[in-house]
C-alpha cells in the first residue's frame, strides 16, 4: 500500500480546538459581564466607561488585555467557526476543493489580521 501524504489538517484542527476553548470559556464570561451583570446594575456605574475600558485594553500592562481579547475573543473563534463551515461544506457535498479552504481560512486570517491591526492602532494612539 502506498503511503498517503501528510495532511495539513493538524494546523487547522489546533486553531479550531483553541478557538473552541475560547468560545466555551471566554464568550460566556463576556456575555455574563456585558449583557447580564452590567444591565442588572451588579457592576459599578462607571465600569464600562470609555476612558476606563480604553485604559484597560490599550494602556495597562502594555495593552496585553486588549491583545488577549482580540486573540481569544475574535481571532481563534473565527478559525473555529470557519473550520466548521469548511467541513460543513464537505458534508453538504459542495466540492469546493482547495478554493473552499482558501475562502474559509483566508477570511478567518484576513479578519484576524484586521482585528489585530485595530488593536495595534488603539495601542499606538494611547
Amino acid at each position: 500500500m502506498t503511503q498517503p501524504t501528510r495532511s495539513d489538517e493538524p494546523i487547522w484542527w489546533a486553531l479550531f480546538s483553541a478557538g473552541g476553548v475560547c468560545f466555551a470559556v471566554l464568550i460566556p464570561g463576556l456575555i455574563l459581564t456585558l449583557a447580564i451583570a452590567y444591565p442588572l446594575g451588579l457592576l459599578p456605574e462607571n465600569a464600562l466607561d470609555y476612558a476606563q475600558i480604553r485604559q484597560w485594553l490599550f494602556s495597562d500592562y502594555w495593552g496585553l488585555a486588549g491583545l488577549v481579547l482580540v486573540g481569544a475573543g475574535l481571532c481563534l473563534p473565527l478559525f473555529h467557526a470557519m473550520h466548521r463551515v469548511h467541513h460543513g461544506m464537505h458534508d453538504l457535498m459542495l466540492r469546493a476543493g482547495g478554493w473552499g479552504k482558501v475562502l474559509c481560512y483566508g477570511s478567518a486570517s484576513l479578519l484576524s489580521v484586521l482585528a489585530l491591526y485595530f488593536w495595534y492602532l488603539g495601542l499606538s494612539a494611547s
Binding site: 500500500m1 503511503q3 498517503p4 501528510r6 489538517e9 493538524p10 484542527w13 458534508d91 457535498m93
Partner: protein, 237 residues
C-alpha cells in the same frame, strides 16, 4: 404474538434494484431479529440470504440496518419495536445479495493500519504488562469487526477511502499497547486526509457500537497523536 418484517430483497442476477418484501413471523419477548430471519429462511422463504454465526454478539456477522439504524440482528429484539420492522443490508457497503454486504473495503482499511502486535524482540519470554499499561488500551480492544460503525459514519458514506472508525480505533489500540513497536509504521496512514483527519467527530459510531468501544474517542485520541507527530515532523526531517 406476531410481527411483520419488511426485508429489503436484492438478487443481482434477477433484480435491477432492491425491493421490499413483507414477512409475518411469530414472536415472543425473547425473539431477536436474527431469530425472525432464521424463521423466515426455514419456514417461509429459503432463498433469503443473510450472514450469521454465533447468535451472541461475539462473531460480528449479523450486522443489518433495523429501521435505518445499524444493529446486530442477534442483539436486537422484536419486543422493542411497536410497528413493522424494516431490515436492510448495512448502509455504505455494496450489497451482494439480500442482507449480505460486501465488507471487502472495510477489510482493506483494517489491513492498512496493521492491527496486530509489531515487536522485533524475538526472545522467547512473555512480554509482561502491568494492569496500568493494560488499562490504557483495554477499552479499545473488544472490537468484533462487525462494521456497524462504518454504516453509522456519514464521512465513510461520503468518502469510502476514509479508513473509518474501527480501523482507526484498532490502530490506536495497538499504538497504546506497551508491547507494541509499530507506531511509526502506522502513523503515516493515520496522518493522511483519509486517516484520523477524515473524521469530523459526529460520534454516531460510538452510539451504535455493540461492544461500547467508543471509536469516536479513539479516533480523536488519534488526532492528538497525529498532531503531535506533525509537530515532531517539523523539527525532525
Amino acid at each position: 404474538m406476531q410481527k411483520t418484517l419488511v426485508i429489503q430483497r436484492y438478487n443481482p442476477e434477477q433484480d435491477h434494484k432492491p425491493h421490499p418484501q413483507h414477512f409475518t413471523v411469530p414472536c415472543d419477548d425473547s425473539t431477536s431479529v436474527l431469530d425472525a430471519l432464521l424463521y423466515i429462511q426455514q419456514q417461509l422463504d429459503p432463498t433469503l440470504a443473510f450472514r450469521w454465526s454465533c447468535r451472541m454478539a461475539i462473531c460480528g456477522s449479523c450486522g443489518v440496518m433495523v429501521n435505518g439504524i445499524p444493529k446486530l440482528g442477534c442483539k436486537t429484539f422484536l419486543r422493542d419495536y411497536k410497528d413493522d420492522i424494516t431490515v436492510e443490508a448495512l448502509a455504505h457497503f455494496a450489497t451482494e445479495k439480500d442482507l449480505i454486504s460486501d465488507m471487502s473495503v472495510f477489510l482493506t482499511h483494517l489491513q492498512a493500519v496493521k492491527p496486530y502486535l509489531i515487536n522485533h524482540d524475538t526472545r522467547p519470554q512473555p512480554h509482561q504488562q502491568t494492569p496500568k499499561q493494560l488499562a490504557k488500551y483495554a477499552k479499545f480492544s473488544n472490537c468484533i469487526n462487525c462494521g456497524l460503525c462504518y454504516s453509522a459514519c456519514p464521512q465513510f458514506g461520503l468518502n469510502p477511502a476514509f479508513l473509518g472508525p474501527a480501523a482507526l480505533t484498532l490502530a490506536q489500540r495497538y499504538n497504546l499497547d506497551s508491547r507494541d513497536q509499530g507506531k511509526a509504521q502506522r502513523m503515516p496512514q493515520l496522518n493522511g486526509k483519509n486517516g484520523v483527519w477524515g473524521c469530523t467527530f459526529v460520534g454516531f459510531c460510538s452510539d451504535v457500537c455493540p461492544k461500547q468501544l467508543d471509536p469516536a474517542a479513539a479516533v480523536n485520541q488519534g488526532k492528538v497523536a497525529s498532531a503531535a507527530d506533525f509537530v515532531i515532523g517539523i523539527f525532525k526531517p
